[in-house]
Subunit: 279 residues, 2 copies
């Protein structure tokens, strides 16, 4: 099988490394606008060659669309226009808009909408990690709209990556993603800004930074070119969750203001129930 | 040297394990109210025996006070009353109140106020980890109020633990701790509650939980018996940081409400500067 990786960065690059190692795919073709990334992707053997989008589509059996979700949205129709037998999958963090934009496309059934739940705060081919997805879940949306063989191939891809497949409609996906992924990025960005603002007047503020702080703030390193389009496409859900999160923080604030540590204990004990979810 | 560990949990237990392995201390005496913890501390060779507080003080050269900060506050005077040649150090996350309460005590110079910047979301002797503190910083407050030999021994302890010593006054310590440790716990508790509330109506919400989410929410497992007294003692600073953090989140909210993704980009790029701090 020949695999085209449209966007040889963190996600596309990590997938290619693992699929090649597992023997799923005998040629990997990259499509990459950034010449530095293209060079690095070849150096790291993520792809064998870098071609134009047209050539890559023509010469591949499976096309993995792993570019920011705004770019996916503007490319997907064009790609499906060039596709007859090829299978096209995306890996974006939002699913509603991309499925909406191609719902009446004659090639809709060549497309499988997916979102593997793995990532780091880094980007580009240098950030790609071979055994990265294993043990996490991947969401496939609107599986009934994909051709059975296309779906089967994509399921095989995720099985090789060691992921647990969850099927969901696009509304449920985008809502859930807002809760268990997108909001975490907003809180990290805001926490980083909170502390960086303070650093302007007190340069020693980070001398004591600990592992706990790093853990809550590491996502603040994430790339705006990737995250802004996600927030924009999932605006309604993220805004709802953000409002809820601000309300939860205000409960803590009110406890401080009223010296109500009994109720603060209730809030903390309630938060402790996350133990049953996150081991 | 004989070492008394008052509170054989995460911090005291981790210290004892490392000090013993490094040959600093030939007898480790535990003081532990919880009989299960006492048993576990002996089983794990954190301590050789468990004695009463009085016996432990009498039979030790170095006393490590590693109990929640409200308990430290009520015990410290009593301990210093029994102390003549012994060295007493605490490891609590707040420094102002404990230094205040003993500032006129005749045994003040036997005491060294410290805060090693390491911890996990777990507690108890089972959570103790031998090589845990290494590479992080430890704050020592009011070093000029400690006897030179006492200070030297405590500095030796932290050198054995592999920590970088930072000297600070208690006001600076408590302020900085609010920014780079305490607020992270509040945001994690609040984020856990945000998502757990949603789970009540939508039980599948965690199916997609990813590493990024786990990273921002793991501190929400932390023990209220440890954290409530910290928040209470550091109320003014934590409340200030919490207000700033809510303001930062509201900037993101306002961007969503106004569809102002240009300014959201500015906010994210500003947060990205955390890269220069957190590698």
């Amino acid at each position: 099988m020949k695999v085209a990786i449209i966007g040889t960065g963190l996600i596309g690059g990590s997938m290619a490394l693992k699929l090649r190692a597992a023997g799923m795919g005998d040629l990997f073709i990259g499509v990459e606008k950034d010449p530095e990334h293209a060079k690095k992707a070849i150096e790291r053997k993520i792809v064998d060659e870098v071609l134009s989008l047209e050539e890559a589509i023509e010469n591949s059996d499976l096309i993995i669309l792993s570019i920011p979700v705004d770019q996916s949205l503007s490319e997907i129709e064009y790609i499906l226009n060039q596709t007859d037998k090829q299978i096209v999958m995306d890996v974006g963090s939002t699913k509603k808009e991309i499925c909406e934009v191609i719902k009446n496309h004659p090639g809709r059934d060549r497309f499988v909408a997916t979102h593997p739940m793995w990532g780091t705060e880094y980007s580009g081919p240098e950030a790609a990690i071979i055994n990265s997805f294993s043990g996490n879940s991947v969401v496939i949306c609107e599986k009934e709209k994909s051709n059975a063989d296309a779906l089967k191939t994509v399921e095989k891809v995720y099985s090789v990556l060691g992921m647990r497949i969850v099927y969901m409609d696009t509304n449920a996906h985008d809502l859930h993603a807002a809760y268990v992924s997108h909001i975490s990025h907003i809180t990290s960005f805001a926490l980083a800004n909170t502390v960086l603002e303070k650093e302007k007047e007190d340069s020693a503020i980070f001398e004591m930074a600990s592992a706990g702080f790093e853990s809550t703030v590491r996502l603040a390193k994430s790339n705006p070119d990737m995250w802004l389009p996600i927030f924009q496409q999932n605006r309604e859900n993220v805004l709802d969750v953000l409002n809820e999160h601000i309300s939860q923080l205000k409960k803590f604030r009110s406890c401080f203001e009223k010296d109500n540590y009994e109720y603060m204990r209730t809030l903390i004990e309630s938060a402790n129930k996350i133990k049953k979810i996150i081991k």
